[in-house]
């Protein structure tokens, strides 16, 4: 009996700990994801500003390139 009770307690503790870990992980991931989106948007805004600065500063053209396609891979790594 004592042995069974101990086993149940251990299993319960492990399950509770796993659930807590999962909840914590999901929470953190949610924060990271929304933070990541904000960071990505900020990065695009920063690149756009830098690009406009470059166009204002240098003698550049703006001519559509050949040989490209829309990328289908999410989370594109860049060059």
């Amino acid at each position: 009996m004592n042995s069974r009770a101990t086993t149940r307690k251990v299993v319960l503790v492990v399950l509770v700990a796993a659930a807590a870990a999962l909840a914590a992980y999901l929470g953190v991931r949610g924060d990271r994801a929304s933070g990541g989106a904000a960071t990505a948007a900020a990065a695009v805004a920063e690149r756009k500003r830098a690009f406009e600065d470059a166009r204002a500063r240098g003698n550049l053209s703006f001519h559509e390139a050949k040989y490209w396609r829309a990328a289908t891979a999410a989370g594109a790594p860049g060059p």
Binding site: G58, L60, A74, A76
Partner: protein
């Protein structure tokens, strides 16, 4: 929640990101990101070049400077470049323009029509897309070449040949001659020293030949990096087997430049050794460049050994071909020959 947010991110990235298909890098670019070449940018899901009609160099050169030794000898070639490159060779001899942002270059407005007009006015038989890397100012080269060809002016590219098959095939339709680098027959060299890969270059060189473009190949010999007998022999064997014994091969002297200021200029003996290896491997037209007064400056008849074209540096001293033949043994000499107009 998390999953939904992740999907939105993926969706946003997918609609704005583009993949450049010009060179083997295949840069995948998010909105307002530039390619590795620095001159292509994704703006709201479309790819643009920043250097069309924006030359940072324009000069009249002798064709021997490219070097092209079997193509309209002693003719003048109108030579243009833009900023940028898709390789990053640590020994780059033109790094001031190849490794800079286009907005930092001294660009002048030189639309294709004006390039061709300038070439005509300067008495040039051809236009060279050179100094940096023509494949990264691809659209500019293509438009100018089409116009030049329509006006009877030939087109020449001086290139590292780091380009994908489809764009190269299209460009070859309006290209008459090319001097392409084979920097080493060694993938590790391309990866470590140039930031590229060997295989796409080999494929491009073969494609030039298949497309009927007059091809000459240059190997810049950098002391300690690509100067072994074994490496040079392997390069010559690949050259002969895949490009043919009649495709000229130029061994060029390195001078300390860019990130390789620690190395000495290539010793003349090394270039002479490479020249002998190429001849021993059966290449009919091996040359030594950036060394004046070297026997490897001249063109010899592979049939009888007669000196057919004598050169000193970029200057042509004597020209003895009759048509495209040796005047003594009548062996045919590969190339696009016309007597110098002097």
């Amino acid at each position: 929640m998390a999953g939904g947010d992740g999907r939105r991110r993926a969706g946003a990235m997918t609609t704005a990101a583009v993949e450049c298909e010009l060179c083997p890098r295949r840069c995948v670019l998010d909105n307002y990101q530039r390619g590795d070449c620095r001159v292509r940018v994704n703006v709201e899901g479309r790819l643009y070049t920043l250097v069309f009609g924006k030359a940072c160099s324009a000069h009249v050169d002798p064709i021997e400077k490219k070097p092209l030794f079997h193509f309209l000898p002693a003719s003048r070639v109108y030579s243009i470049a833009t900023a940028g490159c898709n390789l990053h060779c640590k020994f780059c001899q033109n790094w001031e323009i190849s490794q800079t942002e286009p907005e930092d270059a001294d660009n002048r407005d030189l639309e294709p029509e004006r390039v061709v007009a300038n070439a005509t006015r300067a008495g040039c038989r051809s236009i060279a897309y050179t100094y940096s890397e023509p494949n990264i100012f691809y659209e500019y080269v293509l438009a100018t070449s089409a116009l030049a060809r329509a006006r009877g002016i030939k087109n020449v590219t001086v290139t590292a040949a780091y380009v994908n098959e489809a764009p190269l095939r299209e460009l070859c339709r309006v290209t008459d001659a090319s001097n392409a680098d084979l920097k080493a027959y060694d993938d590790a060299f391309y990866r470590k020293i140039c930031g590229g890969r060997l295989a796409p270059v080999l494929k491009a060189l073969v494609l030039y030949k298949e497309a009927g473009v007059w091809l000459e190949v240059t190997n810049l010999i950098v002391p300690t990096l690509n100067d072994t007998d074994a490496g040079l022999t392997a390069l010559c064997r690949w050259h002969r087997a895949n490009l043919g014994a009649e495709t000229p091969l130029h061994f060029s002297r390195f001078f300390p430049m860019y990130k390789m200021l620690n190395l000495p200029p290539t010793p003349e003996e090394t270039l002479t050794r490479a020249w002998h290896i190429a001849r021993a491997e059966g290449l009919k037209y091996a040359y030594v460049g950036n060394v004046a007064d070297h026997p490897g400056n001249h063109t010899y008849c592979p049939g009888c050994g007669l000196t057919l074209v004598e050169r000193q540096g970029y200057a042509l001293l004597a020209y003895r071909l009759v048509g495209d033949e040796c005047p003594r043994c009548h062996a045919r000499i590969a190339g696009v020959w016309e007597p110098p107009r002097t």
